[in-house]
Symmetry: C2
Subunit: 237 residues, 2 copies
Amino acid sequence: MAGEQAAPGPRALVLCSGGVDSTTLLARAVRDFGADNVVALSVSYGQRHARELDAARAVAAHYGVEQRFLDLAAIFADSDCSLLAHSDEPVPEASYAEQLDGAEGVVSTYVPFRNGLFLSSAASMALSLGCSVVLYGAHHDDWAGSAYPDCSPAFVEAMARAIAEGTGGELRLEAPFVNENKAAIVAEGLALGVPYELTWSCYEGGEHPCGACATCLDRAAAFAANGVPDPALAPRD
Amino acid sequence: MAGEQAAPGPRALVLCSGGVDSTTLLARAVRDFGADNVVALSVSYGQRHARELDAARAVAAHYGVEQRFLDLAAIFADSDCSLLAHSDEPVPEASYAEQLDGAEGVVSTYVPFRNGLFLSSAASMALSLGCSVVLYGAHHDDWAGSAYPDCSPAFVEAMARAIAEGTGGELRLEAPFVNENKAAIVAEGLALGVPYELTWSCYEGGEHPCGACATCLDRAAAFAANGVPDPALAPRD
């Protein structure tokens, strides 16, 4: 009707770590919902460095989406996870498979129920911000071999049900990459023109990625599988 | 073996609001696990008053259990829930049933996915503190009629599964009251000698409970059903 305002479309909240997977998910969300209807949520949890939050900031700015930050570090004050700044444990320099060496269990970089906490925080904020969906970038390589149980399809399915039930059906959780590997995600991101040069994956801080930790190895392999160099590793001036 | 230290028993983390249900749950946990193996977690979420946290503090001191506090108010900064200090909405002076008046939906005192967030925070902290179980005092009267979807058996079951899956089976969630009404909980608590005079349920702050909000009405009915006066309403000097 003339003079009537366009009805606002559905809104989505995307958990954004500044890494490859969630940045690709953000690109999909902007395509599907429009930048005005997307909120990026980035969480501090006491990680060793703020480099990944800087990356999340750069990515959100690139896409022109609203961004929120949360600091949940107090919740992990007693954890001995090696990813945390207060931990004395070194971050292992090996792939997840090498760390587990065929054994069951979780790697030392598992932050206790971190992703359950992130998703619940995202759900609370999403409802407050008028979003009807929370998007989560968990993918196959995160949970295969039990490296991160809070990325598994069984976990995602249970959290999706908890969020649907606990919000009276007002909100849903989607994790479209949960059965895809990182190489497939990068392929999709390259087609979407994702600015991977802005992203950060390395568990260590510093100027450049270390190239040796599990997430650096994963990332390098995903770009190699697509036949392109990782732009985050490209030579800088 | 002589000289060997006694193996520590299993440990439990109890979400403690300072109200009737979680205080009764704490009493059960102390009975079942021993006070040294119980951690009470109390959460600020931007509620209108700190009176219930004072009550939680008094209850934990009574039982001599370790207590942790968390402030998650930032997560609800954008919520218009009437329980929050920044909200302009008044807290309704009516029972849950009167507020809903037969309609589907949630009451204005529903805090967005609050209990999912509390349980996830509790799970993260419980793992860090060596607990194998999180105890949650949701009960029948909270969810009947959809008043609080994040207290329902379906929600509890989904969260229990999410916590079991997301922690690789290291942690479980139990909500032993989820199918009991408040009168039954009070009956159990009276038998356990729970110091209900230390608890606080009222949505309003102040020196004494208002006696008019939904939770005051619920509480009064639960004590009346047990034929005893509510000690929190007893005349004071």
